[in-house]
């Protein structure tokens, strides 16, 4: 396990160097989308239309923030459960999406898509939304404003802390780490 500083969007070179269990600080631009936005993007993809942003080389953060107080870029901003996006993730990964930030387990389908496309799944600490908001410098809505907390946002982040859970080779930290501490 190592501490690493990376920039987003991601390059293949960066991903090659990320391994299960690495503690990673992300600086750069990432996108935010959760349930309702994924549903709409999936409907656009079914019709062969363009998405509100190009997923290529980007990271999607599964998150729906609380409203920002005056003078702040965003409210509380921690990860939501990634498994609800499992239905939509493989198609986005096949389109060039390189990273996802969320919390919790993923399906085998998502893991296969991660390995097939050389991507990475990060976890941010769930329930630490106030702390994580401090690493967000700027937030702007890029689509689906009517969805409120579920709109697609573009974030500028600085040293946003995450942990590599599934790396490009399909190693899964949840499986390995939980076994290590299991005393049943």
């Amino acid at each position: 396990m190592m501490d690493k500083h990376i920039t987003a969007p991601l390059t293949q070179e960066t991903i090659e160097d990320l391994h299960m269990g690495d503690y990673v600080y992300i600086t750069g631009t990432i996108y935010v989308a959760r349930d309702a936005a994924h549903k709409r993007m999936s409907e656009l993809m079914a019709k062969g239309e363009d998405l509100p942003f190009d997923p290529k080389d980007n990271i999607i953060y599964y998150m729906g923030p609380s409203p920002a107080r005056e003078g702040r870029p965003i409210g509380s901003a921690g990860p939501t459960t990634a498994s609800r996006m499992d239905k939509y993730a493989p198609a986005l990964l096949d389109m060039g999406l390189k990273g996802m930030i969320g919390k919790g387990r993923r399906t085998e389908d998502v893991k296969s898509a991660i390995v097939r496309n050389g991507c990475v799944y990060f976890a941010a600490v769930g329930g630490a939304g106030a702390l994580l908001s401090k690493a967000i410098v700027k937030s702007e809505i890029v689509a689906y404003e009517d969805l409120g907390a579920e709109a697609i946002r573009k974030l500028e982040v600085k040293d946003f802390p995450v942990i590599v859970v599934i790396d490009k080779d399909g190693n899964n930290l949840y499986d390995v780490a939980i076994k290590e501490y299991c005393k049943e």
């Binding site: 409203p67 921690g78 329930g127 630490a128 939304g129 106030a130 969805l147 780490a177 501490y181």
Partner: protein, 290 residues
């Protein structure tokens, strides 16, 4: 005015609906920015006992998160929950207006003025956001006295989604109940933002055991059920859940749960209902008595 009875007439203590609304508004904001002392003490203790270095680091982040939330008024978690209430109404108290409307108006003001996330959709399939986090889920109880006691427990859905009801057979017995609790906690795993608090309801009916489990979550962490076998089961299940290795954030460790709180109720000769309501470490509640 205290409730007094005279021959032939009864004087009720009156509370204005506006006072209820104001209290609820304040409670929504309070519960989403500050955890009760039982939860913070339990998290602090877990930092000392956690064996995984990454687990310890995550627990320290959770402590830091609570500090930032309170100081900068940023909600502890962005999922500020669906507003769940337990309301105890004394038989000798009267609310001047519609109590349910007064509570919902408090939620509306608290979530809007308090910069809390609006996470409620008006229809489970049409799914259009109501825009003000109403309606709340309200459980009423009639009790003795002339007071109105309101408890709010905003419930996040990362953990709510991992909750379960098991309609066991009487023959499944104690082992069946323990397996149900362990199964729910293990299935919840990293998804439910551990360390979690596990609320369990045993007995009653299908819906009664779920309410018992939800109510168990508002009992302070570290306080045990007064029934001896229940208290023992709480301790045993906490130990067994912590032996699963799930740990803080689900990334390995011995702090998977901070407490297992169990409530029981009489049940039918043919049944053994068990509900397991999982809550994350942001186990929020606030209480006011009017």
């Amino acid at each position: 005015m205290r409730g007094k009875s005279y021959p032939g007439k009864m004087i009720m203590r009156t509370i204005s609906a506006e006072a209820v609304t104001q209290a609820v508004k304040e409670m929504c904001i309070e519960a989403n920015h500050y955890l009760a002392s039982d939860m913070t003490a339990s998290l602090d203790k877990s930092i000392e006992t956690e064996s995984s270095p990454l687990g310890k680091q995550i627990l320290c982040q959770l402590k830091e998160n609570l500090k930032i939330a309170g100081e900068d008024m940023i909600p502890i978690c962005q999922d500020t929950g669906m507003a769940v209430f337990f309301v105890e109404i004394g038989g000798d108290v009267h609310v001047d207006g519609n109590l349910t409307d007064a509570i919902n108006e408090g939620v509306r003001r608290g979530y809007t003025d308090g910069y809390l996330r609006k996470s409620v959709v008006g229809d489970p399939l049409v799914r259009v956001n109501t825009g003000d986090n109403t309606p709340a889920v309200i459980h009423y109880d009639i009790v003795e006295g002339d007071r109105l006691k309101i408890t709010i427990a905003p419930k996040g859905f990362g953990s709510e989604n991992m909750s379960r009801v098991f309609m066991l057979k009487p023959a499944d017995g104690e082992e069946g109940v323990k397996n149900a609790i362990l199964t729910a906690a293990k299935d919840a795993g990293p998804n439910a933002c551990p360390p979690m608090v596990v609320g369990v309801g045993i007995g009653g009916t299908f819906e009664k055991c779920a309410i018992l489990a939800k109510k168990a979550l508002i009992r302070p962490v570290g306080e045990h059920n007064s029934i001896e076998w229940v208290s023992k089961m709480e301790e045993e299940m906490l130990e067994r859940i912590n032996a699963t290795g799930i740990g803080p954030g689900g990334l390995g460790g011995n702090t998977t749960a901070l407490a297992v709180n169990i409530n029981t109720y009489p049940t039918h000769i043919a049944g053994l209902p068990v509900a397991v309501n999982i809550c994350c470490h942001v186990n929020r509640h606030a209480v006011r008595e009017l």
